[in-house]
Symmetry: C2
Subunit: 220 residues, 2 copies
């Protein structure tokens, strides 16, 4: 089974790595990273570089298409090769996954009309604008579509998909392998329960994602 | 403040990215990835490549030294430049961090004698052999030493360190930014509570980490 992870400038690394770390450990899984060029792609901090070794136009099919989010989504929506690749691959997949505001990419590709999805808490309106039925779940399934909430939710969404691929015992074994028995130092909750000041701060950072990306370049 | 993340062949990606995603969002943090060569370093799956842009011998000081784990730790222990870098940097740091069995690297560098630490559940005996007082905590602090348990514990350890760097409000704000309100599909717990068959399976995989690395190469 082939897992195709999409990279674009300004992706959020944990959107990818949480789900990757789970799904790459499903027996028989082959993982590939694709982008519009072969070589390094910079995350949203401009300090973490991840390697793509296939280009979008080299792909006609895959088994699992995995689309992360990040402040780079705004740019990705204008990337014709990326959008064409998502549209071309989706009909061939067994599963199509988005994490965080990566759901906007699926939405812009026309894949979310009338679909139950989840996304990053501050991207809900954007995703709903594509005709999706956006909830507040940590992960969601609608047919072959698996969507995760923000960033670290990629782990939960990945474990959920692992259970669909290989059963609960496999998912629990991978959970042990990545020692996912979370204990946030300041407790759990939901995004909507957090103080307004914290929500405002994060929204401000996200709304200025493009400038943030422009100001930070990976030092190669 | 400078965060120096150590890369070596066969690192586990989530050991790095969980803590990175938290700490890179601390205001004023500059992140660098270092290895024994400039360029791509392959994770334990041989399919995720991350970029190093400084070499060990270019570094004399840092503020936060961050050492991940993975099946590549066995090889890292025999990497003289890596071990020398850890020994050289540690006296200069404000904080020294290990995640997962990355604690073995700190132990082999002689930094853990009599120190309270945590590590991956199946690496406890190895770390204790270096004179460390190994517990079962998700994260632990002893002086300037911060240690995290396995893989995904890098998120919890990162948030804990973020609170030490900038206070609880900052840590909670970053928690919202990475939407870390975990909901593992099959519940929480501890590694020690998991079925023996799952523990045996993971131990088997880990004990064969070297062969696993040799069999998988990143396709460049």
């Amino acid at each position: 089974m082939r897992l195709t992870i999409v990279l674009f400038d300004g992706f959020t690394a944990l959107d990818i790595v949480g789900g990757y770390e789970v799904l790459a450990n499903v027996p028989g899984m082959e993982v590939e990273f694709v982008s519009d060029r072969i070589g390094l792609v910079a995350s949203d901090t401009g300090r973490l570089g991840m390697a793509a070794y296939r280009t979008f136009d080299q792909l006609d099919t895959t088994d699992i298409l995995y689309v992360p989010g990040g402040p780079g989504v705004a740019g990705a929506l204008g990337n014709a090769a990326l959008m064409a690749c998502v549209r071309r691959l989706h009909p061939t997949t067994a599963w199509t996954v988005s994490i965080c505001n990566g759901a906007e990419i699926l939405g812009a590709a026309g894949l979310l009309k009338g679909k139950k999805v989840t996304t990053n808490w501050f991207a809900r309106a954007h995703v709903a604008a594509y005709g999706a039925l956006v909830g507040t779940e940590r992960y969601q399934r609608d047919g072959k579509l698996i969507t995760g909430a923000g960033v670290s939710a990629s782990i939960d969404a990945g474990l959920f998909l692992a259970s669909l691929l290989g059963g609960e015992t496999l998912a629990r074994t991978i959970q042990l392998g990545i020692e996912y028995y979370p204990a946030p130092p300041f407790g759990n909750g939901t995004p909507d329960e957090q103080p307004q000041a914290a929500q405002d701060r994060i929204r401000h950072v996200e709304q200025h994602g493009a400038q943030r990306l422009a100001a930070r370049v990976i030092p190669f």
